[in-house]
């Protein structure tokens, strides 16, 4: 890949790192972190409480998503076995 030909914000990052699409699910983590920071900044009255509240919410969402993924995988596995 010609690095000089790459223009950040115009060309997709996959041109530079073609294997990025193998780790696409990991790109959800920064998204969740930012959602939690913005949400907690609107809700918390005291600014000093924002980092902790955002961290707790991030962990809660990630755990919930992991449970949802496991449950869906289980349902899929059962469907394959039974049907």
């Amino acid at each position: 890949m010609n690095v000089l030909a790459f223009i950040p914000l115009l060309d997709p990052l996959t041109a530079l790192y073609p294997n990025l699409s193998d780790y696409w699910l990991a790109l959800v983590i920064p998204l969740i972190v930012i959602i939690c920071i913005v949400y907690k900044t609107t809700r918390e009255k005291e600014l000093c409480k924002i980092p902790r509240a955002a961290l707790v919410m991030t962990v809660q969402i990630l755990i919930l998503m992991a449970f949802a993924a496991a449950a869906l995988q289980g349902i899929y596995w059962l469907t394959i076995r039974v049907v």
Binding site: N2, P12, L31, T41, T42, R43, K45
Partner: protein, 206 residues
């Protein structure tokens, strides 16, 4: 600067006035600017960095083609909520789309024969595609990563909508109803002394 009403102090909403609405418009144009205008500097800076950073992150990951994704207009609408970054990016995307069409024509015209499915020709086509992408990174396309880029920019817009609502609540002085406070009685509230039993109304049936 627009004076901010003490949020969380009373539940009655009042008209924010022209300056308040102006802050709301600026909150849409530049995420975080609304809070800066109403005097919430720290919150404004947080929104400015996070929302614009998320939008820029979407562009970095998916490239300019993450904007206005074809056949997914819902993301275009949500991206529009991000304000000025989206307006600028949208103009760049339209220009890039023209370049992309020219690249497609160039790619098709020089590609080794598609009808030939012999292993040698397939390898030739793969090498040609690789070289072409190396020279023109815009041509690189990975659907999942492209979608994540579109989602980043779309979520940035939706978060900006949340921030705009927050500006509206603060300039009108409206209090949010806390779900926990609704169910639990406030322990710090003064307890009223038990009222004496009311005497029966005079003239009533004895």
């Amino acid at each position: 600067m627009v004076p901010e009403h003490p949020a969380h102090s009373h539940s009655t909403s009042e008209s924010p006035g022209a300056a308040g609405y102006l802050a709301l418009v600026f909150a849409w144009i530049v995420p975080g600017l609304g809070h800066l205008l109403i005097g919430q500097r720290a919150r404004g800076i947080i929104f400015l960095l996070t929302i614009n950073g998320l939008f820029a992150g979407g562009l970095l990951i998916g490239g300019i083609r993450a904007i206005n994704p074809p056949e997914q207009p819902i993301w275009t609408y949500t991206q529009l909520l991000a304000g000025a970054p989206m307006i600028i990016a949208s103009k760049l995307q339209k220009q890039a789309e023209k370049n992309f069409e020219l690249l497609q024509d160039e790619y098709r015209s020089n590609r080794p024969e598609e009808w030939d499915t012999s292993p040698k020709k397939i390898d030739e086509r793969k090498a040609y595609a690789k070289d072409f992408i190396a020279q023109h990174p815009l041509f690189s396309y990975h659907p999942k990563v492209q979608d994540i880029g579109s989602v980043y920019c779309g979520i940035a817009g939706m978060l900006n909508l949340l921030v705009m609502f927050d500006v509206l609540l603060r300039i009108t002085g409206t209090t949010r109803e806390e779900p926990a406070a609704k169910s639990k009685p406030n322990p710090s509230a003064p307890v009223a002394p038990p009222s004496p039993p009311t005497p029966p109304a005079a003239g009533g049936a004895a």
